[in-house]
């Protein structure tokens, strides 16, 4: 599968943060998530959405991210921290 573009990755990170799979970037240090955290978040989203857990932003994952949905997060923040 073709690698996701930079734009797709940033949209993916926004989406994962918005729906509770990634903690928002630390406002104080401005530190961004690590690749490992991103991979785990993508895997969690794929499992929650019933997709194959590849850990990468593949086509099916990007398509599900574009599906109309409810605004509420899928995981409560504490939940996503414990999952991680």
């Amino acid at each position: 599968a073709p690698n996701p573009t930079a734009e797709e990755i940033s949209l993916g990170v926004d989406w994962l943060t918005k729906f509770g799979y990634l903690p928002p970037p630390d406002p104080i240090t401005g530190q961004l998530q690590t690749q490992e955290e991103l991979t785990k978040a993508i895997t969690a989203m794929q499992q929650f959405g019933g997709l194959e857990a590849t850990g990468v932003l593949d086509k099916a994952t990007l398509k599900l991210m574009k599906t109309p949905r409810c605004s509420l997060p899928d995981l409560a923040e504490a939940e996503s921290r414990r999952k991680r």
Binding site: F48, G50, P68, C70, S71, L72, A76
Partner: protein
């Protein structure tokens, strides 16, 4: 999956639709009925009771909002996020439910682009009473929109969702095997409109006006055919002036997108430069491409430079390709190409001599003449001059709508007496035929 940590301590919850979708073809009553049935899905199996209230203190305040609406969860236009709700709690927003007003909300529609309002409402009210998202594919609480869930009157919650809500609130007495069946009077439930796709279930139309002794709200030439509009109905004549059916068709079933609660129109005309059809009612107008309303309508008639109060008549005059609007004694001349009103209007001096004021409508016709309609009579003006032809006015019913002189001359009964579907002289039996209307857009 995560289980919600909050739930309502009280059992009787109030709800209210505070704002409605602004550009949806779903009427207010339909939206309220869908909310009622979406809440009933949950109250049928739990001890929770929902009742609709007025005012701003409902536990579950329902709003249709766009983009940023000051709750930290901005919507994002069509698609993307479509709705959200707040979990139970002490906060004043607890239980509040918001729908994205940029979505195309539908009901019993096969439109792939539409968002089934009932399905999304059931999901959001699950949040409003304490449930979170789960990943189970068949659950209504899955975060992704999965299309319509069928008829609200027959919808049955997936077992996964029943178990989770029973864990929060227990089982409603009437559901438990030992309880007596709960008798709810059917007339307690709001009526959902009948199935738009299934004509055979449309109740017999008792309020059909009698074309032979009535005046018309609007008359227009559209794609070469003549349309006579009266109340919620219209009659259609082919290019060679043959009435398609003695029985009228319902405006809403042909012209898709007019609000269901629209009980009549003021004026209709077809724009010459793009052949779109413009409907006027009060201070609003709709533009149709073929028989589907375009996005973004209704809009205010101030777009044309017309004052509030609506119009009586509108028609495009082939002579100068300008559009004329009429209201009481005044008329305006509008340039559809330049999208602006010609200077010097409104004017009181009627351009066409011998034609009365306070028209019902006017239209051009395929013989090159312009016809002005008022009451049960019409005037003909040839394009080559600006005066009504001698011998006019003539009878609309006799010359356009296949009525005999006796029928056409019968006094127009008061509207109410006609709701019984029978005019005083009992003429309508003769003039009604059971033939249905076949409509084809091209």
């Amino acid at each position: 999956h995560a289980q919600a940590v909050t739930k309502w301590n009280k059992r009787n919850l109030s709800w209210r639709v505070r704002t409605f979708p602004r550009e949806s073809h779903l009427g207010h009553d339909t939206v309220r009925a869908l909310m009622y049935y979406a809440l009933k899905v949950w109250s049928d199996i739990t001890p929770l009771n929902f009742h609709e209230v007025a005012g701003n203190n409902a536990d579950i305040q329902i709003d249709f909002s766009k983009t940023d609406h000051d709750d930290g969860y901005p919507f994002d236009g069509p698609g993307g996020t479509v709705a959200h709700a707040f979990f139970p709690g002490e906060h004043h927003t607890a239980g509040d439910t918001h729908f994205d007003d940029d979505e195309y909300w539908t009901f019993r529609s096969s439109d792939a682009h539409g968002m089934d309002l009932f399905a999304v409402a059931v999901h959001e009210f699950g949040h409003a009473i304490g449930l979170t998202h789960i990943s189970a594919i068949e659950s209504i609480m899955r975060p992704y929109y999965q299309g319509p869930v069928g008829d609200p009157l027959k919808y049955d919650l997936p077992y996964e969702d029943k178990v989770r809500i029973w864990q929060l609130y227990g089982v409603r007495e009437s559901v438990s095997p030992t309880a007596k069946p709960e008798i709810s009077k059917t007339d307690d439930h709001p009526v959902l409109p009948d199935l738009p796709e299934n004509r055979s279930t449309v109740p017999l139309r008792r309020d059909v006006p009698n074309r032979c002794n009535t005046h018309f709200d609007a008359v227009a030439q559209i794609r070469g055919e003549a349309f006579f509009f009266k109340g919620k109905y219209f009659w259609r004549l082919t290019r060679n002036k043959h009435l398609v059916s003695l029985q009228p068709a319902q405006i809403h079933r042909f012209w898709r997108g007019l609000p269901l609660n629209l009980d009549s129109v003021d004026a209709v005309y077809e724009r010459t430069h793009d052949h779109k059809i413009v409907f006027f009612k009060g201070n609003r107008y709709w533009v149709f491409k073929d028989n589907n309303v375009e996005e973004g309508y209704p809009r205010p008639i101030s777009d044309f430079g017309l004052p509030p109060g609506g119009i009586d008549a509108a028609f495009s005059w082939a002579q100068n390709d300008k559009t004329y609007f009429f209201k009481d004694h005044l008329y305006w001349c509008y340039d559809d190409h330049q999208h602006r009103m010609d200077p010097g209007y409104p004017s009181e001096a009627m351009l066409w001599k011998g034609v009365p004021s306070r028209l019902d409508d006017a239209t051009r016709w395929s013989d090159g003449a312009t016809y002005f309609f008022k009451g049960k009579e019409y005037w003909k003006v040839m394009d080559s001059n600006l005066e009504a032809e001698p011998g006019y006015p003539q009878s609309i019913a006799r010359d356009w709508l296949v009525c005999g002189d006796m029928q056409a001359d019968a006094p127009e009964p008061a509207e109410s007496s006609r709701t019984g579907g029978r005019s005083r002289q009992g003429h309508h039996d003769e003039s009604r035929s059971e033939s249905e209307v076949c409509s084809c857009t091209s």
